[in-house]
């Protein structure tokens, strides 16, 4: 059924259709509306049987999810930003134990400086934790990926993170096609755990493993993620059969035919990129797009085959490996059959900086004309940076950077973008 709803409301409804049995979450912007929507459904009985457990922190949220999942319940939580970092130890444990928890990450920057706006630093900080990480391009895909996440996670006994851009998607009202309970039930069977804490058949979960077998347990985690690379496209096809639309999968390609320049990105910025690429295609510029839906496991073969004819690659990412450059671009470079010198990194949208068509056009043109630097910070205000550097040269006690830069910038209330 078509609906015009907020992204968070769409995800809450989709998660409810997946019949989670335990939901535990600690509120943090921009995730809050999702768990509020689920909390309401539990309290008014529309989502039943399900226990909504209020916890005192994100660490507790993931710990409760681990306990619930180990007891055989379908468990769900959601977080963002510092909340994800605060639960990080338990996040690794959920993966290491092989518990198929589904978690929404409403992507948001990490402080300091404190910033509530969108980028991908939070999810990418956990890229090696052993969770499957899926990125939604729009709200339709966000809700669809949640349904696929439960199926995928439970099949493999692995937890799945569904990443959606905070505010840009979570707070955007747009049209979504909400599936029926019957459709979701047809796609997602009841959870059949591989391991369960059952008093009738007692086991312990969480043994200490020494050097004699730790490597093997870790290898199995790796092998399972590689297995996911085959299951994810299969589930996406199955999803299409049941729901009648393309959603999920490893990657999405757009206008790649004969493209000399290929732009690679994750998440909602793909929409703005596609509009920019259409404009350039109209002018005869051979440019296309590769969207990464599944970031972990890394779909190396799919990326390689999408980029095989590309003369140059522009990886536009909302994340920064400080002291290195790109995070996504490092992965892309490793899968690009050409020279890594032809993989350009564009760091964009950090802390919610708007990514506009005009700015994208500038960097894509530069790439097509072979004048793009290896690493570019999109719309960086170099004069602001220079003022801080000058201050640091002139004074030993130059003061805190964030406060200084805000003072230099002056009033920002007049800005719209």
């Amino acid at each position: 059924m078509l609906k015009q709803v907020e992204g968070s409301a769409a995800v809450a409804e989709a998660v409810a259709l997946c019949r989670p049995q335990v939901i535990c979450a600690y509120p943090i912007s921009p995730q809050t509306h999702i768990v509020e929507g689920l909390g309401k459904r539990v309290s008014d009985g529309t989502l039943s049987p399900c226990e909504f457990i209020n916890v005192e922190s994100e660490f507790a949220a993931m710990s409760v999810a681990i306990g619930a999942s180990a007891a055989g319940a379908r468990a769900y939580t959601a977080t963002a930003s510092q909340g994800l970092l605060f639960m990080a130890e338990a996040v690794f444990n959920a993966a290491g134990l092989g518990l198929p928890i589904v978690m929404t990450v409403a992507n948001r920057a990490i402080g300091a400086p404190i910033n509530i706006w969108n980028d991908h630093t939070d999810a990418l900080s956990q890229r090696d934790c052993g969770w499957i990480q899926l990125f939604a391009e729009d709200n339709q895909e966000a809700l669809d990926l949640h349904i696929q996440a439960f199926r995928l996670g439970e099949e493999l006994s692995l937890p799945v993170m569904v990443c959606m851009d905070g505010f840009i998607l979570t707070h955007a009202y747009e049209r979504v096609d909400m599936p029926t309970q019957e459709q979701v039930d047809a796609f997602l069977p009841p959870y059949e755990p591989r391991q369960v804490l059952d008093p009738a058949s007692p086991v312990s979960i969480g043994a200490m493993v020494g050097p004699e077998a730790f490597m093997e347990v870790r290898y199995l985690a790796h092998a399972k993620q590689r297995q996911a690379l085959e299951l994810i496209p299969a589930w996406a096809s199955e999803f299409k059969r049941v729901f009648g639309r393309e959603s999920g999968g490893l990657t999405h390609t757009y206008r790649l035919e004969d493209a000399e320049t290929v732009v690679v990105a994750l998440g909602s910025v793909l929409g703005t990129i596609k509009d920019t690429v259409d404009e350039m295609r109209d002018q005869g510029i051979r440019i296309g797009v590769l969207g990464i839906t599944c970031f972990r496991p890394w779909p190396a073969a799919a990326v390689r085959s999408a980029l095989v004819n590309a003369r140059r690659v522009v990886v536009l990412e909302k994340s920064l490996a400080v002291g290195v450059g790109g995070i996504v671009s490092n992965n892309v470079a490793a899968s690009y059959p050409g020279s890594p010198d032809h993989v350009h990194t564009v760091i964009a949208g950090l802390g919610g900086r708007s990514i506009t068509r005009a700015s994208l056009r500038r960097v894509f043109d530069a790439a097509a004309e072979e004048r793009l630097e290896p690493v570019t910070f999109l719309d960086l205000d170099q004069s602001l940076v220079d003022r801080v550097l000058a201050r640091e040269r002139e004074h030993r006690r130059s003061g805190p950077i964030a406060e200084g830069i805000l003072r230099d910038l002056g009033v920002v209330a007049a800005k719209i973008g």
Binding site: L2, E6, F167, I168, A172, Y173, R175, I355, R357, A413
Partner: protein, 196 residues
């Protein structure tokens, strides 16, 4: 694509206005995307919300930098925020005020605009009268329907009824309907004055 930017202050229902507008457009079978300006919303702080309406799916995620229409929920923002940024002279302007463009000091600015596309409506007064609270958003959407013809008053009212419980919805529908009539009349008077 038709792009609307709504300026107001925290507490005036700016984000809700964009949402209602998108629902109204959706009800007319169009694609719509509404989103706020992602600040830490505080009562009284400047807030911006955006709404795009199109016959095709909307992929663009940048803020609306060149709006086709502006709704200004609070005229005190005129001197604080660059509310008119990116608006071309063929654009629409709707301001919540009891004063005229001249009295607001905008006479010279709007001189190049098309008179049938700019108007004012006393939305706060209408909200106080019907809703009992100074929330001008619904009334402004009624006015928006009248001045732009992008959506019908019926769709605005249906969106309001979808969002709010019966009593609150009735009050807001009354405010929107009266604002629609007010703006329609204002536009007729302008047209007559120009013709005569």
């Amino acid at each position: 694509m038709f792009q609307v930017r709504i300026h107001g202050r925290g507490g005036q229902g700016v984000v809700t206005a964009a949402e209602l507008l998108s629902v109204a457009a959706f009800r007319e079978g169009r694609h719509a995307q509404a989103f706020p300006s992602f600040g830490s919303e505080r009562t009284g702080a400047p807030v911006v919300a955006f709404c795009r309406i199109d016959t095709r799916p909307i992929r663009l995620r940048e803020p609306i930098l060149a709006p086709d229409a502006l709704i200004i929920q609070d005229p005190t923002l005129l001197h604080q925020v660059d509310v008119f940024g990116g608006l071309e002279p063929q654009g629409y302007i709707l301001i919540n005020t009891t004063r005229s463009f001249e009295e607001l000091g905008l006479g010279e600015f709007v001189a190049t605009f098309r008179t049938e596309r700019i108007c004012t409506v006393h939305a706060t007064e209408l909200a106080l009268k019907h809703v009992g609270r100074p929330v001008p958003n619904a009334a402004l959407l009624g006015g928006f329907a009248a001045v732009t013809s992008q959506i019908s008053l019926e769709s605005v009212n249906a969106a309001i009824r979808e969002k709010f419980p019966r009593k609150v919805a009735d009050a807001n529908v009354a405010a929107a309907t009266q604002a629609f009539a007010h703006v329609a009349q204002q536009l007729q008077e302008t047209a007559r004055a120009q013709a005569g």
